[in-house]
Amino acid sequence: MIKFLLKGILRDRSRSLFPFLTVTIGVMLTVFLYCYIKGAESNFIESSARFSTGHVKIMSRAYAAEADQIPNDLAYVGVESLLLELRQEFPDMVWTPRIRFGGLLDIPDEAGETRSQGTVAGLAVDLFGSDSPERLIINIEKAVVSGHLPRKQGEILISADLATTLDVRPGDTATLIGSTMHGSMAITNFTVAGTIRFGVTAMDRGAVLADIHDIQEALDMEDAAGEILGFYRGFIYKDKDAEDMASRFNARHHGQGESDEFLPVMVTLKNQSGLADLLAMMGMFSSVVVLIFVAAMSIVLWNAGLMGSLRRYGEIGVRLAMGEDKGHLYRSLIAESMLIAVFGTIAGTTVGVAIAYYIQVHGIDISSFMKSSSLMVTDVLRAQVTPVSFVIGFLPGLGATFIGTSISGIGIYRRKTSTLMKELE
């Protein structure tokens, strides 16, 4: 029977072409939008993880409570011993300390007078450690626009945009004016080794990248760091696993003294900066996209089914007269439409994935929309083709066709066999 139906579909284009095109276009858009949302989500997670949240982050409880304000006076002290403990207990993770700091960057002229000045948001990472993963995590080599990476203590990198604003070139001296961990004024001279651009507007607007030991010294933060970031090897965030790890870590450290606000606390990527809500919202968008396409395509295919039923009124009548059961006829129409849906879904998925893959490779430059953004999102948005991309289209493709044909086919049950002879005259 399937072969018989297939022949009809292939030979009668007016029966199959419109539903096929509807399914193909609908599935293509669904797959593409899914990949695009997925890409945006991954982009956001990855950028946030690399520059801000890690896959998990450890802070002092007090620092965590005020984390938005970067309260280095509440930083965790005893970083080295905690790192040792973490590396032993969670060997699957890569652990690295960071200090985020703010301040004023003063550029002196030849006479030592201020030539230019600007506020900066700094990030201190381990640039020189032999086993430091930071160069890979934030991909510093690729970010260098001019000059070179810091080769010795006292060298910093500044964002290319900030360098242009402050008219700084590699080799120039820059003075960081900030406050120490204990609240005193901190003034330290650095040499600008190079300029960088990460492609994340929030980072590129006014960032300074320095070695963590330099900043610990400059801000009196000996053996202290605002944050210790943990990353999964392979850089794939595993939410459930991260939650388990955080629960275990926090349970053990909370047991040491409930009232000590300087005890470390581990927070997962999703539980930072409202990311959980944002990711849930993105997940909801994906579902809404699929639902919209299922609904819209169902209506279109319902109409296509009705048109087809009208056009094939005679054929349906003959089949009923010949003794085909109404249920069998109804099911065969659904089977026929599902065959079209399978072909349409395969075609739509192929085209959708191909477009998504192109955008995954080449990306779309959104830097012009990100000028005042503080989101950790790269300026080039890329779609992401995942295994789900290859199957997500089957939901609207087959679902909408099934719904559309099921509704339009109900007319078969209303057909009266007693009038068939007259109808077939």
């Binding site: 029977m1 018989f4 022949k7 009809g8 030979r11 009668d12 029966r15 005679g314 054929e315 009548g317 003959v318 089949r319 009923l320 007269a321 010949m322 003794g323 085909e324 059961d325 109404k326 249920g327 069998h328 066999t417 007693s418 068939l420 002879m421 007259k422 077939l424 005259e425």
Partner: protein
């Protein structure tokens, strides 16, 4: 011919509500049809021919009385049971062929066998046998659009007989055919009836069809007014008269090329001894 009736109607009444009135389409019809009959329901429009055919074909049910087809009471059958009865035992031939246009001749004839779940090999054998009967074996791969009216009706006959039904119901089967093609298809049906014992029941007011009948049931206003057996002496006479009329109509003219070709081909008028025939 066996004596047991394949079809029996007892005090059959069919009433259609027409607003505040009622239309009595069949009024106490009592008929028996035995295996191998070649019978026709004749009468003017609105006399109840098609209604009776509908009920006998389990497409409709009576308002009162009973119609027993192949031992089953039509009025007691569910939609599904009625469909099964039609599928297994009844073949239909319609006025307008009603072939499925996207399928080939072979596939059109094959369709009822698909519904009955025959194996591919069995389907092929039965379809070719049926096409052989109607002398269209060489057109098996053609599409309905490539066939003449006569050929299309012969395909419809093949489709009706392929499952070897006990009963074939034909509603005005020659209404869309010219005289010559009408005789072609009627001859095929007559031969089928004689060789396979299939019961044929026609609803018609076409004299050509009537000339082939061996039993003529005249209906007027839903009542059987005459039930005649066409005597062998009378039948060839009427047939010859109808055929003569057909030949007169078929004199070569620019518009008759198709019929001329058909007559000369394997499916033409006359004996079934042509290249497309079974014998």
């Amino acid at each position: 011919m066996e004596n047991a009736a394949l079809i029996q109607t007892k005090d059959l009444v069919k009433i259609y509500p027409m607003g505040s009135h009622e239309l009595v389409a069949l009024n106490n019809v009592n008929l028996d049809f035995k295996k191998g009959e070649f019978a026709g329901l004749v009468g003017p429009s609105g006399s109840g021919k098609t209604t009776l055919l509908n009920i006998v074909g389990s497409l409709d049910s009576p308002t009162r009385g009973s119609a027993i087809v192949m031992g089953k009471k039509v009025e007691e059958l569910s939609h599904k049971q009625a469909a099964r009865l039609r599928n297994s035992h009844i073949g239909f031939i319609f006025q307008t062929f009603n072939l499925l246009p996207v399928y080939t001749v072979f596939e059109n004839v094959e369709f009822p066998l698909l519904l009955l779940g025959f194996s591919p090999a069995e389907r092929k054998r039965l379809v070719m046998e049926a096409l052989d009967w109607v002398r269209l074996a060489d057109r098996a791969r053609s599409r309905p659009a490539q066939l003449s009216g006569g050929e299309s009706q012969r395909v419809a006959i093949a489709r009706a007989i392929v499952k070897k039904p006990a009963i074939i119901l034909a509603d005005e089967p020659t209404a869309n055919l010219d005289a010559e093609n009408s005789h072609n298809v009627l001859q095929i049906m007559e031969e089928l009836n004689q060789e396979t014992g299939t019961t044929f029941i026609f609803a018609t007011h076409d004299e050509k069809v009537i000339s082939y009948l061996r039993r003529k049931i005249t209906l007027i206003d839903g009542r059987v007014v005459r039930d005649e057996v066409m005597t062998p002496e009378r039948q060839p006479e009427a047939k010859a008269q109808a055929q003569a009329q057909a030949q007169a109509q078929a004199k070569p003219s620019p518009g008759r090329t198709e019929q001329a070709e058909e007559t000369g081909g394997p499916g033409g008028t006359g004996t079934r001894g042509g290249s497309g025939g079974r014998r």
